[in-house]
Amino acid sequence: MKKNEINNFRIGDEIPNFHIKPISRSMLTLYASASGDYNPIHIDSDYAKKSGLPDVIAHGMLIMSFLGQTITNIFPQGSIKKFESKFIAMTNINDCLTCKGKIINIELKDSLKRFSLKLLVIDSSGKKKLSGSAIVELKLKEK
């Protein structure tokens, strides 16, 4: 991260895109272990098909965690005050996702600088998988 990058951000700026490697079955199994979410629709193809899905699908929270990483690639971890996502479409095996973020507002309040971010995850054909928003707050230096 370049020094002072955060300070150079203005309203309307995009934060750097975060490209995710193609979603794989092993990624989903690892996330199941890490999160404790062993819902078989994410790890068992037979079960997924029986449940009316084409195959296993990614955990929504795995994709949201990539989005979280997109924020913490730039902003200090711990500065995220609010973080929300709407899961728009299922993510399938081999999907190539890109996480994007845009600064839609910057406010100075008391001794805080508050950034409002609009977030989006799309696949390689531009289809929306997840949309979200975040509020990031940083303490200002004493003058």
């Binding site: 002072n4 078989p40 949201m64 005050k81 929300e84 600088k113």
Partner: protein, 145 residues
């Protein structure tokens, strides 16, 4: 910023953007002990990542029991929305307690999709409210056919 007098835009020091206070840590070698590294950089320990709280609900022996109790088959649910509001940082070593209640139940598409939201709060070992979350699940009632 030329000729401010002419255009009547006079900025005082206090009108300028102030710089947020943060430190940049450059990492040029492998971090052997992450907790130790965090401590050396002024944190009590490793900070939990932004979506870490999702794991708390899965810590229990039967994480899907609450859905079974509601008569919801786990193969038919999808995650529709997730929202976190953070109040205090969460560090490795903290002990968290999660309390959840049903927020809303509503339908869309003539009952084909049924939504249930769960509102949770998380307190640490000092009984301090560290975060709140709203998790909305959607039931695919008719997609099985």
């Amino acid at each position: 910023m030329e000729n401010p007098r002419k255009y009547g835009f006079m900025f005082r020091d206090k009108d300028m953007y102030t710089m947020p206070n943060y430190t940049t840590v450059e990492v040029d070698s492998t971090i052997v002990d992450l907790a130790d590294f965090a401590k050396k950089n002024g944190h009590p320990s490793i900070l939990a990542p932004p979506t870490f709280l999702t794991t708390i609900g899965y810590e229990q022996e039967k994480p899907y029991q609450y859905l079974e109790d509601l008569g919801i088959p786990i193969g038919s649910i999808l995650h529709a929305r997730q929202e976190y509001t953070n109040y205090e940082p969460i560090y490795a070593g903290d002990e968290l307690r999660m309390e959840s209640k049903i927020g809303e139940i509503y339908e869309k598409k003539d009952g084909m999709l049924e939504f249930v939201s769960f509102i949770s709060n998380y307190k640490n070992q000092k009984n301090v409210l560290v975060a709140e979350s709203v998790s909305t699940l959607v039931l695919r009632n008719n997609e099985k056919k």
